[in-house]
Every structure is written in C-alpha cells, then in structure tokens.
C-alpha cells in the first residue's frame, strides 16, 4: 500500500483526468443503452405500437409482442451488456474492483 500511495501522489493530476475520462466513457455507454431501452419500451411498445401491429411475428402483432414479450427480453440483455462493457471500461481506466478482495484481507 505504501509504495502505491507514493506513485499516487506523483500522478495526481493525470489521475483526475483519468477519472474524468472514465466518467465520460461511462455516460456515453449509458446514453447508448438508454436509447435502446427507450426505443423498445416506449417506442415500439407504446408510441409506434399501433403502426407496428400491421406486421406479424411468431403469431403476434408486432407492437403487441414488443409490449408483452420482446421489450422484456431486450431489458435483460441490456443489463448484461452493461455489466460486461463496464467491466471492460473499469479495466481500461484501471479503476476496477478486481483486487478489492485482497485489500480486505490485508487490512
């Protein structure tokens, strides 16, 4: 921990930049995923639903399917994609929590 602390102080400025960039990348990812979230639920399931109903999938009117089935599947996928992408971001910016278990045993 002590040697870590030393390098930390030396690179304080770049550390702050790093955190800012991490946060920006995080917000960008959130924006993308929330656009999908909005599109499948409020978009396909509600606003566009009547128009989508003219198409048919698996025996459903498409708008109805999105509202009662499809959107839910997409929601599940979105969270797993988010968890995975964030793990990559954490690693890229070196802010991950992989080593936290070790810290615990040291303290």
């Amino acid at each position: 921990m002590n040697s870590d602390e030393h390098t930390k102080q030396a690179s304080d400025v770049s550390q702050i930049d790093n955190q800012k960039n991490y946060w920006k990348a995080n917000l960008k990812l959130l924006a993308k995923l929330l656009v999908v979230w909005f599109t499948v639920s409020f978009g396909c399931g509600i606003i566009l639903a009547d128009w989508l109903d003219q198409f048919s999938v698996f025996g459903f009117k498409l708008g109805f399917w999105f509202a009662q089935q499809g959107a839910i599947y997409v929601f599940v996928a979105l969270i797993f994609v988010y968890a995975r992408q964030m793990k990559l971001l954490d690693r890229q910016f070196g802010v991950g929590d992989e080593n936290d278990a070790d810290q615990e045993s040291q303290s």
Binding site: W23, N26, W37, G45, G59, F64, A83, D97, D100
Partner: protein, 591 residues
C-alpha cells in the same frame, strides 16, 4: 390424498423450510442484520431480489388484471421490468459503492443534512407501508380459499413465520429464505402454465404457445381466437388497447421510475461484495423476474379463453366444482337474470353494487343467492380478477398437487416481499431515525436490539392491516410506485449524476414531488371519486400515471433550487467522485 391435505402439506413444508433457514442464518451484527454481512454472491442476490420484488401482486393479481384488460396490461409488464434497467444502470452500482446500510443513509450523507435524511425516511415509510398491507391481504386470500381457515388466522400464521426469520435473521435470514421462496414461487407459477399451454396449443413453452395456433382445428392463433370470442361477447378485442397513448406512457413511466426508486429493492444491492457484482446481480435479478413476467401474459390469455369456454352458456347444474368452491370466497358469483339456469357471460358489470354480497340462501340450481340488484347488462357472472391465477389450475382441470403448489407459491410470493419491506422499515427506524438522529450514542448491540424491536412492531402493524384492511389499501398499492418515482428516484439520481445538486434542492424536490403526487391521487380516489375520468385529469393522465409528472416536477425544482442556493461543500464533491469509481468498495463498508 385430498387437495386440501396436499395444500396443508405443501404450505406446511415450505414454512418449515423458511423457519429452518431462519434459525440457521441468525444475524449477529448490525451489518448482518442490515446487509447480510455484505458478502452475498451476485447470483444468490439476483434470486433473492426476484423473490423480494415479485409480490402477491405479481403472482396472484397481475396475470388476472392482464387477462381482463388485455393489451392495456402491457403497462405492468413494461413498467415492472423496465425499471430494472434504470436501477442497474443509474443507481445500484453507485449506491453499492457508497456502501452504507440504507437508502436514507445515502440521501442524508450526500445532501449533508439530517432534514434530507428524515424526509427520505418519511417517503420510505409511506411507500413501504402501502405496499406491505397489500401483501398481507394476499396471504389472507390464499389461506381463506385453500386452507379454509379464517382470513385473520391465516394472517397471524403468516406474521408468525415472517416474524421468525426477519426478526431473528434480519437481511441475512431474509436473503436465504427469499432464495427458497423464489424456487417455490417460480415452480408453482410455471407448472400450471406449462400444463395449460400444452392443453390449449400443444406447445409446452408458454411464451411460444402464446403466439401459436389453438389446437381445436380452427387454424386460429390464441390471440386471434381470443379477439374473436371477446368481440362476440361484447367486449373490446384483447389485442386492442382502450387507454389513451399519453396515459399508457405516463403509467408505464411511473411504474418504471418507481421500481428503480423502491427502497426494499435498492437495499438488496447493498448486500453484494463489489460494485461489479451489483451490476451483474441486477442482470440476474431481471432474468429471474423475466421468467415469470413473460409467462404471465401467456397465462392471462389462456385463462381468459378457458374461462369463457367453461362458463359461458353452461348450465349452473353442470358447472365444474371449482365454480362452487370459489363462490364461497366471494371472488365469483352468478345471478340468473333470465331464469334459464344457464350462465351467460358478457361485457358490462353483472351486479350492482359491483362486488357480490351473498344473502345466505341457495337458489333452485344450488347457486348462492345475492342481495345485489341485477344490472341492465345481460352479463350474469361476476368474476374477480384475482381468481385467474389461483383458480386457473382448477379451471383447467389440473391435478390436486398442482393446486396445492399454487397455494404454496402464492404464500411464498407474499411473504418474501413482506419480509423485504419490513426490513427496510425497521432499518430506517433503528439506523436512520435512532442511531443517526435521535440516539447517536447507542452501541452496535443496542442498535441491533432496536432493529429487532422495530421489525417486530412493523410485523404487527402489517398484520393488523391484513386482518382489518382499510378500505383504501387495495387501491393504494399501485400508487406506492408513483410516490417512489416522484419522491426518492430524482434525489438518488441527482445525488450521483450531478455534483451541483444540494440539500435545499433535494429537500424541496422530494417534498413537492411527494405532496403533489399524493394530493392528486387522494383527490381523485377519495375526495372526488366521481370526477375520476379523462375529462378531469391533468393532460389526460390518470392517478396511476401522475407519478411521472410528480417526478418531472421534482427534477425541475431540485435543479433550479440547487442553482440559486449555495454549492455543496467540498467533502460532498469528493464523495460523489468516490462513488463514481468502482475500486475500493470493500474498504468503504466499514464506517
């Protein structure tokens, strides 16, 4: 063995399991009691969250509601699952990193204010108590029908079981019982759904059967047939909505943002070891929830089809046994308006007043006679929507053990949610109100004792609500979401994503959101129920959806008040910087 014996056996065995787990997982510290020691595996937490989340409303009522309102029922399906995306992406990981015990804890620290903490406690208690009352009613319904005991006896047994594991085990006991309860409830939900899907469409997967052809040789799909049958009876088509788009939009949004702001769900994510676990755990939770939520609309359509088939144009004398069984619970009733001895089912209310009241006599066909006035409508059958899931196995003629399983599942769903709610109420009182505000000098041991006492008191109050349900309870449960969306969600979101949000903004926002939403609901539901229609609603938004407007109001006020008042202190900016970075979560759990 009779169905009743099987039901006693299944419910009894499941209770023994819950109590066994409670004794095995006793809490020995406040950290155990509030957050299960903080070391719960994300998959286990996901399963516990799913049980925590899926209440009597999801298990018993949801498919029934969808069954009767068809397409408009999408608001519940979308709202109660879509909220998890917001929870996972916007709140859970950051609150986990913050790493304390309760939701008001975060609001109190982030907005450096005891007032903000107390306002959050008030919002939390308000939301959680309206919700818990509904659970106890669910336990009562299941007991009164399946075990044929008084509703109050059922509630007391349920209270005793919840008392055992929440007072002894706290979050730790609740977590592991919820895992068991998830297994019981999902099995109990899926077995009849699969049977019925096979019966109607030959497809064993309900989600696919939902879109398949009916196996009666007509070549129509389930939904086409249902649309046709309902139109013939004078209902509107199942796949067409009757609510306005703006109202559907607002209700869905209120349910979604409310879900993300529900304290008993949020606090579950405090129990996993790391930030990355919190994200993953939310994914598992929604996956477990989605199994039930994608099955429910299928069950809804099958059940409606089955019901019409079985009841409409059937002579009462030939009616299946379940009809008589459920008549005695008051969830179904028949009034022979044209004296032909045959049940005619159709659109419109069958009775006036709507709910049946039996006068104690039986008619010539053996039906229970009603003191209600007949209505103009040709419809002779009253059906409560809560019956659809509970009676579904009987309507479909499934064996006794499936019926017993549904009873155990219904109780599991109600108890798991009740326990989760009671825990957040008791920790808000012992931790936020006592330890952090009124009695800061108490030791951890005393705090734990107070936590147990608060849990015990909360169980008793919830039980009283179950035995003597205030008339407004059933109506109010759905509004817990609107209140959560309008009060807690914006404060939590701004606390993480805006460094500029300060205590003045947060407090003003929460209060305005809560008061506005509460007033709107109370006005249309209790003060002037006769005005409760589209013409009088604000922008055509019903009381169910008004939480969305309350939330926008909260955001607008919180942001503008924060702008014109002092910036939060440096230490709070550092706190926000800290929760935005996943590393170091373990260290933060120690105060």
């Amino acid at each position: 063995m009779s169905t009743q014996m099987l039901t006693y056996l299944f419910v009894g065995l499941s209770f023994a399991l819950y109590v066994g787990i409670a004794i095995w997982s006793r809490a020995s510290s406040t950290k155990d009691f509030y957050v299960a020691g903080g070391g719960v595996h994300p998959l286990v937490n996901g399963m516990a969250t799913a049980a925590d989340w899926m209440s009597a409303a999801s298990f018993i009522s949801m498919a029934g509601i969808i069954s009767f309102i068809g397409r408009d029922g999408s608001v519940y399906l979308l709202g109660w699952t879509g909220g998890y995306v917001l929870l996972a992406l916007l709140l859970a990981p950051y609150l986990r990193k913050f790493g304390r015990f309760t939701v008001p804890d975060f609001i109190g620290e982030r907005y450096y204010s005891q007032t903000a903490r107390i306002v959050a406690v008030i919002c939390l208690i308000f939301v959680s108590f309206t919700y818990v009352a509904g659970q106890m009613r669910g336990v009562g319904i299941v007991f009164s029908r399946f075990l044929e005991v008084e509703v109050s006896t059922g509630v007391i047994i349920g209270m005793a079981v919840v008392f055992m594991y929440s007072v002894l085990g706290g979050m730790k006991g609740i977590t592991y019982t919820q895992v068991a309860q998830y297994c019981v409830l999902i099995f109990a939900y899926m077995v009849p759904a699969i049977f019925i899907s096979i019966m109607i469409t030959d497809n064993p997967i309900p989600q696919l059967g939902f879109g398949s052809e009916v196996n009666d040789g007509s070549g129509l799909s389930v939904l086409q047939k249902l649309d046709g049958v309902l139109l013939d009876l004078g209902f509107s088509a199942y796949t067409e909505g009757s609510k306005s788009t703006i109202d559907v939009f607002a209700i869905t949004a209120a349910l979604m943002f409310g879900t993300a702001g529900l304290p008993h769900v949020l606090v579950r994510f405090f129990t996993v070891p790391k930030v990355s676990d919190a994200r993953l755990s939310a994914g598992y939770a929604l996956a477990f929830i989605a199994i039930l939520y994608t099955t429910a609309p299928a069950v809804a359509s099958f059940a409606r089809l089955n019901l019409v088939d079985t009841v409409h144009n059937t002579a009462y004398a030939d009616a299946p046994e379940w009809f008589g069984n459920w008549e005695s619970t008051g969830l179904i009733a028949w009034q022979d308006k044209n004296n032909d001895g045959i049940m005619q089912y159709g659109a419109g209310a069958a009775l006036s007043p709507i709910k049946p009241s039996f006068d104690g006599n039986t008619g010539v066909h053996g039906e229970r006679l009603l003191s209600n006035q007949p209505t103009e409508s040709t419809n002779e059958v009253y059906i409560d929507r809560d019956i659809m899931v509970l009676a579904n196995p009987e309507i479909a003629g499934l064996p006794g053990w499936v019926i017993a399983l549904v009873a155990a599942g219904g109780v599991a769903a109600a108890l798991s949610t009740a326990a989760g709610l009671l825990l957040v109420i008791s920790s808000a009182i012992s931790h936020d109100l006592l330890k952090k505000t009124l009695l800061p000098k108490i030791t951890e041991k005393q705090e734990l004792l107070y936590a147990r006492m608060a849990a015990a008191v909360a169980v008793c109050i919830a039980g009283l609500f179950g035995i003597y349900p205030p008339a407004f309870v059933a109506q109010v449960v759905a509004f817990a979401f609107g209140l959560a969306a309008a009060s807690l969600f914006p404060a939590l979101l701004l606390g993480i994503f805006s460094k500029r949000a300060n205590k003045e903004g947060a407090i003003a926002g929460m209060l305005v959101g809560l008061v506005f939403t509460f007033t709107y609901i109370a006005y249309f539901k209790f003060v002037a129920p006769e005005l409760n229609n589209t013409e009088h609603w604000l922008w055509g938004i019903s009381p169910e959806g008004i939480g969305t407007i309350g939330m926008l109001l909260n955001f607008a006020i919180a942001i503008s008040v924060s702008r014109v008042t002092a910036k939060p202190p440096q230490s709070v900016e550092e706190l926000v910087d800290n929760i935005r970075i996943p590393s170091g979560a373990k260290a933060a759990t120690e105060h």
